[in-house]
C-alpha cells in the first residue's frame, strides 16, 4: 500500500527537521560542555606560565607560542604558493591537461590523512633534510596540508571578480601583471583571506601531523629550529595519559575559543565579500 502523499510529506518534513536539530544540539552540547569545564580553569597564570611537572601544574605559554609559530610558518609558506597557483590556473593558462593535473593534485592532497602528512614530514623534513623535530619541520608539513584549501578558495575568489574589471584594465593598457597586482588581488582579497583563515584553523586544530614533526617538547622554543608542543598536542597528551583533567579542559576550551574566533572572522569576511560582489 502506498502512503498518502500528504502524510509522507509530513513524516519526511518532521524527520528532516529532527535530524537538523539533533546535529545542532550535538554541536552546541560539545562546545558548551568543553567551555563550561574549561573556562573556570583558564587563569592569568595558565596563560603566562610554561608547563611544569609534565603539564600537571603551571600554564601553557610555551604551547601557545608553539601553536602560533608553527601556524605562522605554515601560513607564510603556503599563502604565496596557494594564491600563486590560483592565479596561474585562472589568469595564465587555458584549461588543458596541465591544469587538470594541477587540480587533481590539489584535490588529492586535500584528501590525504593528516597522519600520512606526519609520516612524510617526519621522514622528509625531520630526518632527510636534518631539520629535526622543530617548528620549521612542523610548519612546512602543515603548509603542504593547507595548500589545497588556499588554492581552492583563492581560485573561487578570483573567479568571482567581474570580467569587466579585467577588460577595463587591459583596455587602459595595463599588462597582465599590473592587472593582477592592482585590480584582481584587491578585489579578490576577502575571498583569499577567507582561505588563509580556514588554513590557519586547520593548523591550530591539527595534532597527528604536528606531533610527528614538531615533537612534543615542553620547553619554550627559542628559534624555528627548536622543537615545540602545540596546544592541540598538549591537550592530546594531557587527556590520553590522564595527566591533568583540569589542565586538559582548560587547554581544550582555549582551543575552542580560538577556533570560534577564527570561524567568526572567516564568516564576516565571506559575508562582506558576498555583499560586495552582488
Amino acid at each position: 500500500m502506498r502512503l498518502n502523499p500528504r502524510i509522507s510529506q509530513k513524516i519526511a518534513k518532521t524527520v528532516i527537521w529532527f535530524a537538523a536539530i539533533v546535529v545542532l544540539v550535538l554541536l552546541f552540547s560539545i562546545i558548551i560542555y568543553i567551555l563550561s569545564k574549561g573556562i573556570p580553569n583558564i587563569t592569568w597564570q595558565f596563560l603566562t606560565e610554561i608547563p611544569s611537572d609534565m603539564g600537571r601544574s603551571g600554564g601553557i605559554l610555551s604551547c601557545i607560542v608553539g601553536t602560533l609559530s608553527v601556524t605562522l610558518v605554515a601560513t607564510v609558506v603556503a599563502t604565496p604558493l596557494g594564491v600563486g597557483t590560483a592565479f596561474y590556473l585562472t589568469e595564465y593558462t587555458h584549461e588543458s591537461i596541465v591544469t587538470k593535473i594541477i587540480r587533481f593534485s590539489a584535490e588529492s592532497l586535500a584528501g590525504i590523512p593528516s597522519i600520512v602528512y606526519g609520516l612524510f614530514g617526519f621522514i622528509f623534513f625531520v630526518i632527510y633534510l636534518k631539520l629535526g623535530w622543530s617548528i620549521l619541520s612542523g610548519g612546512l608539513t602543515l603548509a603542504m596540508m593547507i595548500l589545497p584549501t588556499i588554492i581552492r578558495t583563492s581560485e573561487e575568489a578570483i573567479h568571482t571578480v567581474h570580467p569587466m574589471y579585467r577588460e577595463v584594465s587591459f583596455s587602459l593598457g595595463g599588462t597582465k601583471w599590473q592587472t593582477m597586482i592592482k585590480i584582481l588581488i584587491p578585489s579578490a582579497l576577502p575571498g583569499i583571506a577567507t582561505g588563509i583563515i580556514l588554513g590557519i584553523g586547520r593548523c591550530v586544530a591539527e595534532t597527528a601531523a604536528v606531533i610527528l614533526t614538531a615533537g612534543s617538547a615542553l620547553q619554550m622554543p627559542v628559534s624555528i629550529f627548536s622543537p615545540a608542543r602545540t596546544m592541540a598536542v598538549h591537550f592530546y597528551i594531557l587527556a590520553r595519559e590522564s595527566i591533568s583533567l583540569e589542565k586538559a579542559f582548560a587547554t581544550a576550551a582555549l582551543l575552542i575559543i580560538l577556533i570560534l574566533i577564527i570561524n567568526i572572522g572567516a564568516n564576516i569576511l565571506v559575508n562582506r565579500f558576498v555583499a560586495k560582489s552582488h
Partner: protein
Amino acid sequence: MKLKKFGERIPQSLFFLIALSALSALALITIFIFIEGVPLIAKVGFFNFIFGMKWAPSLGQYGIFPMIVGTVLVTVGAVIIGVPIALCCSIFLAEFAPRQLSMLVRPAIQLLAGIPSVVYGFWGLIFIVPAIRNYLGGPGLSILAGSIILAIMILPTVISISEVSILALPPLLKEGAFALGATHWQTIRSVLLPAAKSGILASIILGIGRAVGETMAVIMVLGNAVALPSSILDPARTLTTNIGIEMGYASGEHQQALFATGIVLLVIIMILNASAQYAIRRK
C-alpha cells in the same frame, strides 16, 4: 618595449613553477612514503603483510589484516550512522530551512568541521565510552564508540557537498514536479535526489575518506587492541591508529612497517579520492 615584455615573461614562468607546488608535494609524499615502506613489504611478502593476522614488531611479525578489518568496520559504522543524518541535514538546508535559519546552521556546520579531532575523541571518551560500557556491555572502548565519533566528524563533509549539489540543480526540475501536483517531499525524493545523485555519492565517498584517515579521535575511543574483533563492542585498531600509537617509539624495521601501513592507507585514500572526483565530473 622589450623590457616590458621581459617583465611580463618572468611572472608567467614563475607562476607556472609555483603552480607545480601541489603536484610536487603530492609526488614527494608518495615517493618518500613508498621508499620507506616498500622494502618491508618486500621482505615480509605482500600477501603476508596484508593478510597476516599477527602484528608483533618485537618478534618481527608484521600482519595488518586485523587493522584493515578494524578500519573497514569503524568506517562502515560511521557511514551507517552518519550518512542518513547528514543527508537529512543537507535536504533541510537546501529545501526546508527558512533563510534566516540556514544562515545560522551553515556556519555552525562549518564550526563542526573546525573543532580539533582530539576534542571529539575526548568528548567521546567522557560520554560515549562510559555509556556503551554501562548500557551495552564490553569495555566501552570499542568499534561502536569509534563509529559514533567518526559519524559526527564526517557530517560537515557530507552535508556541505550534498547540499551544494542539490542547490546546483536547475530550478526547472522542481517547478516541473510541482506543476504536476507532486508534494514537496515527492519532488525531493523522486526528482531532486536522483538528479543530484552523483554529487551526493561524491560527498559520501569523501566522507568515507575522512573516516578512514582520521587518527587522533579514534585512538582515544577505540581501545587499540591488535586482535580481530568479534563484535562491535570489542576494541580494535585501525590503520591510522596503528601509525599514531607506535610511531612515537618505533625504530628500524618496526618504523618501516608503519610506513608500509601508510602505503596501504595512501592507496585506499587515492582510490576513494579518484572515485569521488570521477563521480563529481560525471554529472
